[in-house]
Structures are given as structure tokens and as C-alpha cells.
Symmetry: C2
Subunit: 336 residues, 2 copies
């Protein structure tokens, strides 16, 4: 079996660190793992399985001999370096948002549209974290009944803003205990004991960039160009795992037992109900897991429509980023 | 002008304490304020304006001579004592849930349906806290355009569970810092750095009692028996003020400027937009306020419907409980 030179770009960030962890858990045919970061971190040593890996500096000509690039770079740096990786013949799996809506770039959640991987021209995009988590929960229902419309409100953890986000919540809690003014840097306002209904910048209609991703990326991943999504994204003082309150509208009627049965066998989903240790998903429980926890499933009939509500939680650093990227790599390797 | 003997029942709880504070801020024609609590607290002294008030024991025959009773008692104790207050001739304004859907009892948000007060037969019910906060934000739109359907996801503060809720969050944060296991008592699970999608008990369809209140109480308050509400209630690690992500469906079309104009002059609403110090409502900002902060207003056209999304925050101990009860008393006094 072919073995691959795999590289992680941005290995010192929250997602890069998680990629290293997920790679060590999964059996990929790795010939050699290369880890890259900015000049500042170059030369440092990382432990991976039984090896010590030296962080190399990310440069324009560091991609020779690499087969698969897992990129956890920010948008701006991704834009600068990823074309060079493609030119060097790498398959790039990109966690940034810059290529996601590019028609030449497949946007993949392996449980949903792994077959789109083969359309790649050197880059495969990893979707937005809250989009991945929500879609894993609802795609099994869409594939069976066709969703007309989605209303989603998110409850997003501070680590979605990287290591700095986690640090800021912890620091603010300590500062408030000492009756010091909380340091505000990673987020727009105090996040400790507060909620911030803004993730990303605003468009002219008042939507944040994070809110637009669910519809835009969801349409592409589900191959459903008319999907309507009404999305509100909120940062909450939780360290890890995003949660989502989702309401789905269908034209068809069906029973809630059917919904639960579909979800109980859906790939990537852990259905949580009263028969489990916990009766519903919570971010603390979903953290460190690769499955999206789905529960609180309810059905209403309103006018001619069947309305399903559910609540899901997923680790946005794992399934929402690192795990999904590595699952894409696994699917790519299997398809080759 | 007539002056009233006013009593607070349950004065030592989170809502009772807030009633005392709100009464001291507002100019009610009080002849004498009487404060009642359980035997445990009886005899203690409370400061109110320039007086020292002695807490009296709540008993079945403590209501003689009282004109208006503001009750912050729990459901069970309310059920035991409030009929005795009515029998003694008091007007009872009840913050518990036991009478809210009783047809003989008006359920009042003074900004919306103050005229229903006169139908009272001795008891007026104060609605559920998240229902009050959401309805203050949306009633001005319903009155103009008629809402067909509401989807609401709540982000509810720990003080909604009383002083014990606040204490538990603070205690858990300290315990986790010391690497001790968090004490779990007021809530079902750890709330520090977590979310709990359960407030109240479950019905057979999987709805919590808190989730059913928005539709049931909303229909009564808005005089809109066909209103459909899809509600998901979630406890978040915020000390004070409930927040709500609300999506509203209308058959009529209108501009977002019209919506903002309506909300900018709506009673009880503080419209927050990019022209304010903060660009959107946050629970930290709404805390200690009587107005419901409304912002993040967006419009979409989906099929034949106009869909408005908004985000609101309100202090659930004040407008969601104490302030609303005292506004009911004020309206009652004015109407007499």
C-alpha cells in the first residue's frame, strides 16, 4: 500500500494541535509527517507517536515531496501559501474559508458528500465548523425527506477563536474574581458571564460572515441550491464544543420514530435520548469526541408542514475542523 | 390620592429582593410596605427607603388590611397561600406559574395588554420571564403585521433558578479552579463552561415546561389563539439576563426600516443598533435595566413570507419578574 508524506501547516494553533492528536489516533498510511509553522516556532520539537518532530518554517518552497497538506492556516496566510503547495503537486485540504465557495474546489463532509472529493483540482476545502456540526445532524433527514428551510441558533465555544479565545475566557474569570477589569482582546466584548451575538464581520443586511456560511456552504455540500437558512451565531462562555438549536421544515409528513431511527444509524451521529447516561447533548460531553451528539428531537405539525426541532453539540476543533480534514484525507486515500 | 398597603411574599428570594429594589425606585402610593417570608427568615430586618422593615412570617391569616399582594412564592407555596389572600380581599399579583392559564385570571405584560387587568377576580398573573422578554420585543410587530409563527431559542441566565443558581455557577468555577469536582445541586448537570438544554420537566412530546410557556402564555397575552411557537430553552453560564434568538414569520411584506421605526418607539423596548455605544444587545448590558434590549434585526423573504430575525436581552429578575409585577400594580392603581 502506498504511504504518504503528510504535512500539517500551522501546527502550533488550536486546530493544528488537534490535527496532530487526531492523526495519532487514526491509522493513516503515513510515510513521514512534516509539521510547519511560522518562523517564530520553527526549530521547536513536537512529540508524535514515538517520534520527535521538528517544526519547520513555512516557506514558499517547503512543499517538495509532500503528498497531502493539511492546512490550519488563517485565511490570509492560506491565500499566500496554498497555491504554492498545489503548484508543487500536493493535495491540499484547507481549513480556511477562502476556497470553500470556489466552484473548482470540493467542499466536503465525508459522511455527506465524500464522492465530491474526486472532482478536486488540487484543493479540497474543509467547511466552517458550525456548518459541519449542524449538517452532520441534519443531512440524514434531508437525504430522506428533503429539507425546505432551516432556522439555526448557535452557541459557540470560545476555542472557536483559537487558543487566544480560551485564554481570554480563563483570564477574564480570574480578573473578575480579583475585581480587576477584564482584558478584552480576542473578542469584541467581555465573554465571561456574557454572550456576544457576533462572530465575524457584518454585511449590509446585518448578517455576520459566520451566519452566511451555514446557507452558502450547506447548499454546496447538500447539493441543494434552494436551501434557505436563517442563522444566528452567538459566542458563549463555554471552552469547547459548539451547540446548535435547529428547526427544520419539511413538506412531507413522517413520524418522530422514523427520525430517531434514521439518526440512530447515521454516520457521524450519536443519538442521545432518555435511554443514555445523559438525556440530551451538552458541550462538556461532546468535547474530545468525533461524533456529533444529537438529541431533544421534537416534532410539530404547523399548517401543511412537518417541523422537526433538535439540539446538537459537536467538538468544533475535532469534527468541526481537524477530524473532518483528516477524514477527507482518509477518503481521498481510499478513493485513490 | 388613595394610598395602599402593599405586601411582598417571599421577600428573601431573588425575585422578592428585586421587588423591594424596584419598589424603592418607582413612585407607588404606598401607605405601608409589608414583607413576608418563611418562619426561618421572620424577625430579620430589611432596609427600604428610610425605613427598617421587619420580615413577618407568611401565614394563612397574615393578609388582613393588605390591599395589593406581590407574590414571589414558588408554585407549591403560592397554591397554599394565595387563595387566602384573595379571600381576605387582596389583589394578588402572582409571579408563580399556577394561575397563568386560568381563564379567570388575566395574564399581563402592561406594555401589551394592560386593559385585561380589569377582568381580574382577585388574581393577576405575571407571565414567565422569557415569555415576557420575548413578547415585549415582538408585540409591537405583531400588533402591526400579525405574526404567523415564531421560532425562539433562549440563552437563560443561572439567576433564573434563583439565588441558588447564581451561587452554584460561582461555586463550580471556584471548584474547577481548585481541580475539585463541581457541586451539582441547583441544576441537573455542571453549568460552568457548559450548556444545559433543559429548564423544567419534560412532557410526552419531549418539550420542557419552560418551552411550552412561550406559546401558551403568548397566545393569551397577544389574544392570538392560533400562534405557533417553536421554542428551545437552554441554560447558559451567564449570571443575569436572559437572551433570545427569535425568528418571526409574517404573511405581509414590509421594510426593515419600518420594523426598526416601530421598535424605536415601542414601550419597554430599547432598540440597539450600530449608532449605539454597543452595536447589539448583550446580557451584561441589559442587567439591572427595565427595558428589553432588541437588536440584530434582519429581514429575509422566503417563499411568500417575510421573515424577521432579532436578538433580545432582558433582565429576567426585573422586567421578567419584579418590574413587570410592579408595573401591573401601577396600572391597576391607575385604572382604579
Amino acid at each position: 500500500m502506498k504511504k504518504y508524506h503528510i504535512a500539517i501547516l500551522g501546527v502550533t494553533g488550536a486546530v493544528g494541535q488537534e490535527m496532530l492528536k487526531v492523526l495519532s489516533e487514526r491509522q493513516l498510511p503515513i510515510k513521514k509527517l512534516h509539521v510547519f509553522a511560522s518562523k517564530r516556532s520553527a526549530g521547536q520539537t513536537l512529540h508524535f507517536e514515538n517520534q520527535d518532530l521538528t517544526i519547520e518554517e513555512l516557506t514558499g518552497d517547503c512543499f517538495k515531496g509532500i503528498d497531502i497538506v493539511l492546512s490550519a492556516l488563517d485565511d490570509e496566510i492560506a491565500r499566500q501559501f496554498l497555491p504554492k503547495a498545489v503548484a508543487a503537486g500536493c493535495l491540499v485540504i484547507d481549513n480556511s474559508s477562502i476556497y470553500r465557495l470556489n466552484e473548482a474546489v470540493p467542499l466536503i463532509v465525508p459522511e455527506i458528500n465524500a464522492e465530491d472529493i474526486k472532482k478536486n483540482q488540487g484543493i479540497i476545502a474543509n467547511p466552517n465548523c458550525s456548518t459541519i456540526i449542524g449538517l452532520v445532524a441534519i443531512a440524514p433527514l434531508h437525504q430522506r425527506y428533503s429539507i425546505q428551510q432551516i432556522v439555526v441558533s448557535t452557541y459557540q465555544a470560545v476555542s472557536g477563536a483559537g487558543i487566544a479565545g480560551t485564554h481570554e475566557l480563563e483570564q477574564q474569570i480570574k480578573e473578575l474574581e480579583n475585581q480587576d477589569a477584564p482584558t478584552i482582546d480576542a473578542f469584541q466584548y467581555q465573554i465571561a458571564y456574557n454572550l456576544i451575538p457576533q462572530i465575524g464581520g457584518f454585511d449590509a443586511e446585518g448578517n455576520t460572515s459566520e451566519e452566511l456560511k451555514f446557507q452558502n456552504e450547506g447548499r454546496k455540500i447538500l447539493h441543494h441550491p434552494n436551501l434557505n437558512v436563517i442563522c444566528t451565531c452567538v459566542r458563549v462562555p463555554v471552552i469547547r464544543s459548539h451547540s446548535e438549536s435547529i428547526t427544520l421544515y419539511f413538506d412531507e409528513d413522517f413520524s418522530i420514530e422514523e427520525v430517531k431511527k434514521l439518526l440512530s444509524v447515521a454516520p457521524g451521529v450519536k443519538l442521545i435520548d432518555e435511554t443514555d447516561d445523559i438525556p440530551y447533548p451538552m458541550p462538556l460531553e461532546a468535547s474530545g469526541q468525533d461524533l456529533v451528539y444529537v438529541g431533544r428531537i421534537r416534532k410539530q405539525k404547523i399548517n401543511q408542514q412537518t417541523v422537526i426541532s433538535l439540539w446538537c453539540c459537536g467538538d468544533q476543533l475535532r469534527k468541526g475542523a481537524a477530524t473532518n480534514a483528516i477524514q477527507i484525507a482518509q477518503s481521498y486515500i481510499e478513493q485513490n
